[in-house]
Amino acid sequence: MKMPRFSRKTLCIPYAVFLLFFVVIPMFVILFYAFTDREMHFSFMNFVRFFSDPTKLSTIVYSLVIALITTVVCILVAYPVAYILARSKMKKKFVILMLFVTPMWINFVLRVNAIRELFNWIGILGEANYFNTVFGMVYDFLPFMILPLYTTLQKIDVSLYEASADLGGNAFTAFTRITLPLSMPGIISGVTMVFLPSMTNYVVSDMLGNSKVTIIGKFIYEYFGTDWHMGSMVALVLLIVVFVSSLLSGGFKSEENVRGANL
């Protein structure tokens, strides 16, 4: 009798099972619900209803705009910080890096609540809903932008800057032709980790937007309370939007220098 050989492939089984039950099957379930009506008959009705409803379409656009602004603000705030930290010779710089990252360790609902209270105290809660939402998102997702940027910026060899200066390049040249292109993987990775969650994280938009800001995540949540078929359709549309934006940002390029971009 031959013993079944234990191969390395065996180690994949737990994850394969997980993948099957929690990723692949749910996808088909969503696909199934999206294209059926309440009697479980195949139908394009949800599709038609979605794309003929201006509120739904405008929600998608709003979500995209909020996510886009959040991402841009995150880049603008995170890049200088990450750059300065990466280039500094300070021995204790990890302490500063930690200060930026520790908020991640505090419960996120608690943090958002704290900001809500702060806004309430200042008196802008309910006044500037979109601004408040973006502010909360930036506060929430900033560490996810700083970390990948810091990692890629730190990896840039100092001698490259010396070479740039040696060849007659000024500080601007060094930034545009060395720092920026070489930190692109970090930017892509950061964008992926900020842009996508900020389209769906309705806890922030609910609490800080005073329930006046509806983003696509909120939509899905609400539909799954009443109408699974429409909810699935919205989820499917979001999936496609995410997929397309990932393609555009180059997140699926299977090159080693964009490693970690598909988190």
């Binding site: 001698s159 490259l160 010396e162 070479a163 060849l167 007659g168 390049g169 292109p181 070489l182």
Partner: protein
Amino acid sequence: MSEHIIELQDVTKYYDDNLVIDHVSFYVKKGEFITFLGPSGCGKTTTLRMIAGFDLPTSGKILLNGQDISLLPPNKRPVNTVFQRYALFPHLNVFENIAFGLKCKRVVNTYRNAKGEEYTKKERLSKKEIAEKVKKALELVDLEGFEKRAVSTLSGGQQQRVAIARAIVNEPEILLLDEPLGALDLKMRKEMQLELKEMHRRLGITFIYVTHDQEEALTMSDTIVVMADGVVQQIGTPKGIYDEPANTFVADFIGESNIFNGTVVANRKVRFCGKTFDCVDDFGENELVDVVVRPEDFEICPPEQGIVHGKVISVVFKGIHYEITVQVGKFEVIVQSTQKREEGEEIGLKVDAENIHLMKPRYTTNVFDGVITKHNTVEFADGEFECDVTRLYPGSHLDEEEYLITAEGEKIDLTGVEVKVEVGLNDISISDDAEAGGTMGHIISIIYKGDHYRLIVRTDESEEDFVFATDDLWNENDYVSVIIPKDKIKLTLKHTEEKKR
């Protein structure tokens, strides 16, 4: 002045508190191939980086064609660098790497407007001009057709060539090369040495080259600057430095040498290896000198005809010659010869007077600044040593409470008194046992002197050096403790005013 393209005037450089360049002055002639040679940490790379502008001198001046450029940023200097690990831009292909400098460049063009007035405009180079220059640079380094290749797909030697092309395409006045061949294997290195030399001849610009490889320096350079410990040891042509080393460091570092302790016994007569030799260097009678004889300068002859004679103890074939070790009395002498000799054979050795190089010994004694502690020991060089404090005052003695009583009966508390500590070259020994001596340090230099070794041990904290002779073989970088017998520590008072009780 125009002959001197670069001139360093009394340049000193500190990194934090570490002195890396110590009052260095020299000049580089226009068009020459000059090499900074020295062991790692000698300051050669720092000197190059100051000329490139990556490091600024703490004090002193760097002149380029007579103009002070000490504080000019690197992008404003007409020099280009080939970096030690190439520093090619990984995200750019070969063409883009080489074109980097050209794209940064602005040239002043003169035009005539409609009224016939002349005016100038600063302009970028056109795409066509850049492409032509890159093509020429690639031809020069034998990489035609490599324009589109990603730098990561190139071999070490090819990357090296791209790095050189990237520098010379800008037509710099000076090309700086920081150990450019260090990462290549031996055969490739030899080829590149010749190619660089040829490139230097063709381009006609000044090359400043940094290496720790003495053979490389001798092969390529017009002028060599030998550095050690942030100080220039000798500047000269390869032949000049090889034939007339300025001190034992240079003699030991460049080529192989027999180094002996010698004494000048009469005018142009020096005694070493137990015999008296004729020499050509003038030194005062009875002066102690270091004697350097290159292994190939010994001539083998029958025992009775030699100035000295001895027994062959080892013969090693080195390709074009044999390296023969001869035991002459208690001295070991290394001789290179094309004739084969047998082990155990008795041979005589002769050497021409002009091949015996005498030099002033760098070290004659060890001097430190010390402080007497309350236990009547002396603190210096990061350690504490037992000593005889009564030597400070002739005729004095210690009472039962350990106070010093002078000959006149005066009672003196020596705690905290500053003294000059002197220790002879033969009075120091070292040990592996950390507890055995008064202080610890690393061996930073070992020079064989025929019958003994001359070692330098440097302490970690204050970087004080102990120089001494020993019969035992140690390894460089060994961490050892320094032992000095109590009676060998010579103390003298630094100030005549001392604390009295």
